[in-house]
């Protein structure tokens, strides 16, 4: 009998542990029931005329500059206190859970495609009424940012940061290979990359991991070659098109001039390699500038706009961040005041590490050379938002998953593009 009890207990313990495993896998709604909303006791309504406290989330790279912005806010709005919390990179899963559970902060700083997704899901508060009430001119903002933040005709965020990719190039490496000017077409890029690849110096830095970085690189190449990921009305995948196959082939061709660690390299790895003079060219945004200069102040580099192919008009992705109000916020009026404040050009210029939502360069780049800043500024006019479809994050993940097959298993560009096209079609259903 003792043995039976012992065995039963062992089974029970095993079952309990396995239950623990399941709990870790439960859906957001499952967690919704088990967590209570964040305490709001310290908040006082505006109607009472007493100070209001609102909570704000942003990425941790903004933490250093926050005190300066907060000081201005406190001076202008002594009646509204901001409790800011800064999250690690790519925290969209944490944002989603908090928004779904009703535990989100009042104001969230969201990457543009997150605004699209959360707006589609009804997790953000529409701002149109507030915009109309305050007669705010949203046309002052970059069009692509407004497009990404507008879902079914409703505006869900105001941009405080906008940027697009440019090509960073090492002038010394190009010069040593016989090139005094950067390549203007993707065909030229292949030629320059081949000439620059020598020993442990590589011609081109590609992203092979991090779905966000990888997909931005591929889509930028695709758009600047005349293609796109979806059709004009965003109802069907265009990732099986001839241009998409050609772009996948371009990615594969450039991989020959990339470091062997290609599939392990994200944007930060490429930036590190570029800063240490190991790669000649790579695509990135102006946000890499300060880090490159910090890592290697003597690096002789410049930026140029993204090359094109097939005679296509230049078309890149508008990246950026907007401030949005959570639908669950109990202090929407105060939250709106903060959204307006942070997207204001003079404040955004301090807060952003790229360009403001109105395309003005960040204050921190005032002393940088024009040959670096100007291409970044000029490129913004060619930048367009990613399609405002529900599953844009999933589509970007599918781009990485399927093109990795091509890069790691010697699959043809046609086959990989076909699989990507199928995966995207499935996600659009």
């Amino acid at each position: 009998m003792k043995k039976v009890v012992k065995r039963t207990l062992s089974m029970t313990m095993a079952a309990t542990m396995a239950l623990g495993l399941m709990v870790g896998c439960s859906s957001a709604k499952g967690e919704q029931k088990s967590e209570s909303p964040a305490p709001q006791s310290d908040q006082k309504t505006e109607a009472s005329g007493k100070p209001v406290t609102i909570k704000f989330w942003d990425g941790n790279w903004q933490e250093a500059v926050w005190p300066e912005v907060e000081a201005i806010w406190n001076k202008e709005h002594p009646d509204i206190k901001i409790e800011a919390e800064f999250q690690a990179d790519l925290a969209n899963d944490k944002y989603m859970l908090a928004l779904k559970n009703g535990t989100a902060p009042d104001v969230l700083s969201c990457a543009l495609d997150w605004v699209t997704t959360f707006g589609n899901a009804g997790l953000l508060a529409p701002l149109d009424e507030y915009v109309a009430k305050d007669s705010l001119d949203v046309n002052q903002f970059v069009k692509g940012a407004n497009d990404a933040s507008t879902v079914n005709g409703k505006l869900y965020g105001l941009p405080f940061r906008s940027e697009t990719y440019v090509m960073f190039y090492n002038k010394d490496i190009l010069s040593a290979a016989g090139y005094q000017t950067p390549p203007a077409t993707w065909d030229e890029v292949k030629g320059v990359a081949a000439a620059c690849t020598n020993g442990d110096v590589y011609g081109y830095g590609l992203c092979g991991t991090n779905y966000s970085n990888f997909s931005f690189q591929y889509i930028t190449m695709l758009r600047s070659s005349g293609g796109d990921i979806l059709n004009a009305d965003n109802t069907a995948s265009a990732l099986g098109s001839d241009v998409a196959v050609q772009t996948a082939q371009l990615y594969k061709d450039l991989a020959a001039y990339a470091p062997a660690s290609l599939l392990e390299n994200d944007n930060i790895a490429n930036r590190t390699l570029f800063a240490s003079g190991k790669i000649a060219m790579y695509l990135s945004g102006i946000y890499d500038l300060a880090e490159i200069v910090k890592a290697n102040p003597d690096l002789n580099f410049a930026c140029t706009m993204v090359p094109t192919a097939n005679g296509a008009e230049r078309n890149t992705i508008l990246g950026g961040w907007s401030v949005a109000v959570a639908e669950s916020s109990k202090e929407k009026e105060a939250a709106w005041e903060f959204v307006k404040f942070l997207s204001r050009p003079d404040i955004a210029a301090i807060y952003t590490n790229t360009f403001t939502g109105t395309a003005e360069v960040a204050a921190r780049y005032t002393d940088y050379p024009e040959e670096i800043i100007k291409p970044n500024a000029d490129a913004l006019q060619y930048a367009n938002a990613l399609p405002a479809v529900e599953n844009i994050v999933g589509i970007r993940q599918a781009i990485m998953d399927n093109l990795q097959l091509m890069l790691s298993e010697d699959m043809s560009a046609e086959e990989a593009s076909g699989l990507l096209d199928q995966a995207t079609t499935k996600l659009l259903k």
Partner: protein, 292 residues
């Protein structure tokens, strides 16, 4: 009945078991139920869809691959973790080993190092261009050209398993070494008097004393590893091309990239069934030996 429970000691652990089970039971049932509902971030309410999501899952090559990857990841990790931990514990237990406390502290470093920090360090060590592992191996003439440890589909999983082994073998070592200290010296001396050699002592005295610890530690490691994906997430993101995508990673991607909680719930239920099956088979295989 109450007397029997009291005598067995079940009453002592029952409150804890009940509390843990109650805290977990709701999410568990919710997840199992949601496996039968179409439930995405964009739907106002879940829609019942029968077993269609399970059908979709088992038609999905990536999911089927993730089951294989999960088994390789789990049994590969546990095999090496246990093997290394067991051997190290036996060596450390020997009387001729000096400075045991210092060695124990040093061996515990991987276990107490946060996984995410360990991942970052190992990722650079594995780096195909500038990693120290390629440097050492090529300096010793073991490899001719630099290897892509984390992006070669044939070796990426084993590279991550090596990191998981590094992280968790100290736990096994700790458990087995503690168990070895409880082995009766009198029995060992008696065995020596009876003419037993080293292997005879191990087989007839040491192993019976530490077997229960080994079985329960191994079971724990199996369950933890089935559910673990920190190293995979931080080092390969499931790549290259799903080659290291275990079920937990698949579930994460479906829930937080595609926002499809229905499919993620169905996949969670399959993972639950798999872990239960593995645990029960393991318990069945070890029950008689444990009894002895």
């Amino acid at each position: 009945m109450l007397r029997k429970i009291k005598r067995s000691g079940a009453g002592y652990v029952l409150p804890a078991v009940i509390t843990v089970a109650v805290v977990m039971i709701y999410p568990l049932l919710y997840t199992l139920v949601m496996g039968f509902f179409n439930n995405t971030l964009f739907l106002e309410a879940p829609v019942f869809c029968g077993i269609s999501q399970y059908k979709k899952l088992f038609e999905d090559k990536v999911f089927l691959g993730s089951i294989t990857n999960t088994l390789v990841w789990t049994f590969g990790s546990v095999f090496f973790q246990f093997g290394l931990g067991f051997i190290m514990a036996l060596i450390l237990h020997q009387p001729f080993v000096k400075g045991k406390t210092l060695i124990r502290i040093l061996l515990m470093i991987p276990w107490v190092t946060p996984s995410i920090i360990g991942s970052a360090v190992w990722k650079w060590m594995y780096n195909a261009d500038y990693g120290i592992i390629n440097f050492i191996f090529s300096s010793l003439g073991i490899i001719e050209k630099n290897q892509t440890w984390l992006s070669n589909p044939k070796i990426a999983m084993w590279s991550v398993i090596a990191v998981n082994t590094w992280k968790m073998f100290p736990f096994i070592l700790l458990m087995i070494e503690a168990s070895l200290q409880s082995v009766s010296k009198d029995l060992k001396e008696a065995a020596v008097i009876d003419g037993a050699n080293v292997f005879g002592i191990f087989k007839n005295v040491t192993w019976p004393s530490i077997a229960a610890t080994c079985y329960s530690t191994t079971l724990l490691m199996i369950i933890w590893t089935l559910n673990a994906f920190t190293f995979i997430y931080a080092m390969t993101e499931g790549g290259p091309a799903h080659k290291t995508e275990v079920m937990a990673m698949y579930i994460y991607k479906r829930a937080f990239m595609d926002y499809d909680f229905g499919i993620a719930s169905a996949a969670s239920a399959v993972l639950f069934a798999l872990s239960m099956f593995v645990s029960l088979v393991y318990l069945y295989l070890t029950r008689e030996k444990e009894g002895n």
